[in-house]
């Protein structure tokens, strides 16, 4: 089930909230578990059994691991508890890719279960954390199952670790926070829904319109590339916002997943702001165990490449994703190298000039990286990148109609501007300034509350309108 669907918004979510708060604290994890299973089964009626099986197996293995911790069997159970979820992930997501690329054998595997990349990482992190004593083993199966299946973050993250929500799962929601958390959750969810439905989807329409053209001009190629980056950002961060908001509604505090990544001045900063929970997962469970940066340079470079190869592969079984990941590895190594080289050098640029060029560099890299990310084939990605330089198969010198390019740009200029501004902290900054000013005057606080209510209601109404219109399906008497 998608958050941005009528089924979820108007039927599933109200029921889930109602049942959750109707039952006493003790029964809430059970409600969450059952509702999460229903949520998942709505989209994956068969694979819900696979997920359940993985939950049961990992629960039992962790139990055995904990019981035989001091014996050799304990380590074996630990290894199994980590490897089995990854084996399932490998089979469903990567087996066909490796068979084809290593052995030239084309095989047909089953469809990829929704959210398997996310819940595999959650199960693995729990097993690893219990083994290393960072968290206590959860003895209640329902509580553990509720952690893995928790529907707000089940299918698209953020990747939540057990330690981050353990307290709410075990002790329940702090009643003094109930209303504040609910309100915060509702506003955050509405904002995320707006990002997804009103911005990402509409920018996606523009990208599809451009793709439908056989050829295009250089200006439209740049607009397309920017649109792709914005679409991916608003789509993914919108979903994360919805997840965090839903978490708040149920009393959980999920970690932030995006912090205005496009304002970064370096790629390493970008990855501290983009899909933060994934970056943190790879840092804590792969990079640091490999030795991190406290090793010789060659080993450190290897660690960086290993982590970014895996990060790329996590996003999908395709060469474009691998290339995408490795591109960041190269850039991160270069950045580190440059910062070491420049550490002793006496180079003084005015800060704003340096800042401008740093932003420019990050923007160019990000735009190119998402063209690689978005394309199904490397050929398509290279063609899109070439188009930015005004050459390649996408650019049509004779076939392009400038008026067509101009129309497409004019038609979507509004949403592109909203997307560009919305991807920076400017709107939040403006809201905070307005809030400060309003709070200083009589009835100002009431006005702020009213504005928040209006903002949420209008967003929900508009999103509903877009979802309804998206289903418009006229009988056209053959298009006419």
């Amino acid at each position: 089930m998608l958050f941005s669907s009528i089924t979820f918004l108007y039927f599933f979510l109200p029921c889930a909230v109602l049942f959750y708060f109707m039952v006493p604290q003790k029964g809430r994890n059970f409600i969450l578990f059952v509702m999460s299973l229903l949520f998942y089964a709505w989209g994956e009626p068969v694979y819900v059994l696979l997920m359940l099986m993985q939950i049961v197996i990992s629960f039992v293995l962790v139990l055995l691991m904990d019981r035989f911790r001091e014996e050799r069997a304990g380590r074996a159970f630990y290894m199994l508890s980590v490897l089995l979820p990854f084996a399932a992930l490998f089979y469903f997501k990567y087996f066909h890719f490796f068979m084809e690329n290593l052995f030239g054998i084309r095989i047909k595997t089953a469809a990829l279960p929704i959210g398997i990349s996310f819940y595999t990482f959650q199960i693995a992190s729990y097993c690893i954390d219990v083994w290393h004593g960072r968290v206590k083993r959860q003895e209640n199966f329902i509580t553990y199952a509720a952690y893995v299946t928790l529907f707000p973050q089940l299918v698209a993250g953020p990747i939540v670790r057990y330690s981050e929500i353990e307290q709410t799962l075990v002790k329940g929601m702090d009643s003094s926070e109930l209303y504040g958390s609910l309100e915060q959750g509702i506003v955050r969810f509405a904002a995320g829904l707006g990002k997804k439905v009103l911005i990402a989807n509409v920018i996606g329409e523009f990208a599809a319109e451009v793709l439908a053209l056989e050829q295009r001009g250089i200006a439209l190629s740049w607009a397309y590339a920017i649109a792709v980056s914005l679409q991916i950002y608003f789509d993914f961060s919108g979903y994360s916002d919805m997840a965090i908001g839903l978490g708040n509604i149920f009393g959980f505090h999920f970690p932030e997943n995006f912090r205005y990544p496009f304002i970064s001045k370096s790629i390493s900063e970008f990855w501290r702001r983009w899909h933060i929970t994934l970056g943190a997962w790879f840092r804590d469970y792969v990079y640091i165990p490999l030795g991190g940066n406290r090793v010789r340079m060659i080993r450190w470079i290897f660690n960086i490449f290993a982590v970014w190869f895996l990060t790329g592969l996590w996003h999908g079984a395709g060469w474009n994703f691998i290339l995408w990941g490795l591109m960041f590895a190269v850039l991160l190594v270069m950045e580190k190298g440059c910062s070491r080289l420049s550490a002793g050098a006496d180079i003084s640029f005015p800060r704003y000039i340096a800042g401008f060029f740093r932003h420019l560099y990050v923007a160019a890299v990000i735009i190119i990286s998402f063209l690689i990310f978005q394309n199904d084939t490397l050929t398509g990605a290279f063609a899109d990148i070439q188009a930015l330089a005004g050459c390649g198969s996408r650019i049509g010198h004779a076939a392009v109609k400038p008026e067509m390019d101009a129309y497409l740009l004019r038609n979507r200029i509004g949403i592109l501007c909203i997307g560009l501004i919305g991807s920076t902290p400017v709107p939040l900054w403006l809201w905070q300034r307005a809030q400060e000013r309003l709070n200083g005057i009589r009835f100002g606080a009431a006005a702020v509350r009213l504005l928040r209510v209006l903002f949420t209601a209008v967003l929900l109404l508009l999103c509903t309108a877009y979802l309804i219109d998206g289903s418009f399906n006229p009988f056209l008497y053959f298009r006419f």
Binding site: Y10, I186, E403, Y407, L408, D469, P474, L476, F480
Partner: protein, 390 residues
């Protein structure tokens, strides 16, 4: 603390009432079966079975059902349209734009391969069924022809489209006669909310075609020759798509004695258990030229179906009062439904073939091409999407 709680309650209660209200209205409102603005039957509640659960069709159908029956659906679509136009400054909504009160659907770019495909279809039909007969063709320009370019909207290159078709037909070595009807039309000849042209505005066009076919002298094409009948509140196909408030059109259909005496046979209404009763055979179902029975929701969701009853693979119009014994066969789309009655003064029999609904290989079983004039009359939108022709 208590004040803090109250503060938070405002937004929580607002949302609660909003969602509860929607669900309540949804539950209480009687389930509609038809959407007038979208001119389609709405999805019905899906049945829950083991098979529909495992193949996910139940979930998909349920979402469709909820979307179709959502309270204030048309109003919400209108809100979306206003937001797209006025806030996002889009120049279209769902590919529909409105200029001077006329709604039109964007049609671009030109698909040269489609035009060549149409030419191939035309030449193969001529080769198969009427190699030595006089054959004409014309393209009906869509509303974009009059509205798009001059208002900054992209449109197909009509000159190039015509050029490709002419060249392809010329290269076939067959004898084809082209006619240009675009000069006899302007935007006022089309419905504001629909794609089609208006029958009462087609005298010049019909005269032009009649002259080219050599029957111009038999046609009566003066307003005074006909009696006008109005059908009010015609919301065309673009009305629903635009989701903006637009005044409805009025369909005016023309009658005279010749049209009133004419009868229409169509293939779909004359097939029973695989057996076809042809128009001249006993027991054939014959209908009038204007199907007023199609004005009810049960029969049709499109009032334009009043012209010859709407979509049909093969139709034969018999005109006993025609001035000649000539026969005309038109390969056509829906535009011809309102034009064909104007030729009944000149032709004893007009056969309309719609290749969107019947394969080219089958038409020989129902249509006698011998001695008939042949006309291909397709709108530019069909020319640009010729893959729909079988």
């Amino acid at each position: 603390m208590r004040k803090g709680r109250q503060k938070h309650r405002v937004i929580i209660l607002t949302l609660l009432f909003y969602m509860a209200g929607i669900v309540l209205v949804f539950t209480l409102c009687s389930s509609k079966t038809i959407s007038e603005s979208e001119r389609r039957r709405l999805a019905q509640k899906p049945k829950l079975t083991a098979a529909s659960l495992t193949d996910k069709s139940f979930m998909e159908d349920m979402e469709t059902y909820l979307l179709d029956h959502f309270p204030f659906r048309d109003g919400l679509r209108r809100i979306k349209a206003y937001f797209a136009y006025d806030v996002l400054r889009q120049k279209e909504n769902n590919d529909i734009y409105v200029v001077d009160g006329y709604a039109s659907k964007l049609e671009y770019p030109l698909d040269g391969a489609s035009v060549r495909r149409l030419a191939g279809k035309m030449t193969s039909l001529k080769h198969q069924y009427f190699p030595n007969q006089n054959t004409w063709y014309a393209m009906v320009p869509d509303k974009n022809y009059f509205l798009a370019e001059q208002n900054g909207y992209p449109s197909i290159d009509y000159t190039q489209m015509t050029g490709i078709l002419m060249q392809e037909l010329e290269d076939s070595g067959q004898n084809w006669n082209d006619m240009d009807i675009s000069s006899s039309l302007d935007i006022g000849d089309y419905y504001r909310t629909d794609t089609h042209w208006r029958q009462e505005q087609l005298f010049d066009t019909a005269a032009k075609i009649g002259e080219a076919l050599g029957v111009g002298e038999y046609l009566k094409l003066q307003k005074a020759d006909f009696e006008e009948h109005a059908i009010e509140n015609f919301y065309g196909v673009y009305y629903g798509q635009a989701a903006l408030p637009m005044k409805p059109d009025t369909i005016i259909y023309l009658t005279d004695e010749t049209i009133e005496k004419a009868s229409v046979w169509n293939l779909e209404e004359n097939i029973l258990d695989g057996k076809v009763t042809m128009s001249e055979e006993k027991g054939a179902v014959l209908k009038p030229v204007y199907r007023l029975d199609k004005l009810t929701e049960e029969m049709s969701l499109d009032k334009y179906d009043v012209f010859l009853g709407g979509a049909s693979s093969i139709q034969v119009i018999q005109s006993p009062l025609a001035a000649t014994d000539k026969r005309l066969i038109i390969f056509r789309d829906s535009y011809t439904s309102s034009l064909a009655p104007l030729f009944l003064e000149a032709y004893r029999e007009i056969t309309l073939v719609d290749l969107r609904y019947i394969s080219s290989d089958l038409i020989g079983e129902y249509v006698d091409f011998e001695g008939a004039d042949i006309l291909f009359l397709y709108s530019t939108a069909v020319v640009n999407h010729a893959a729909v022709l079988k």
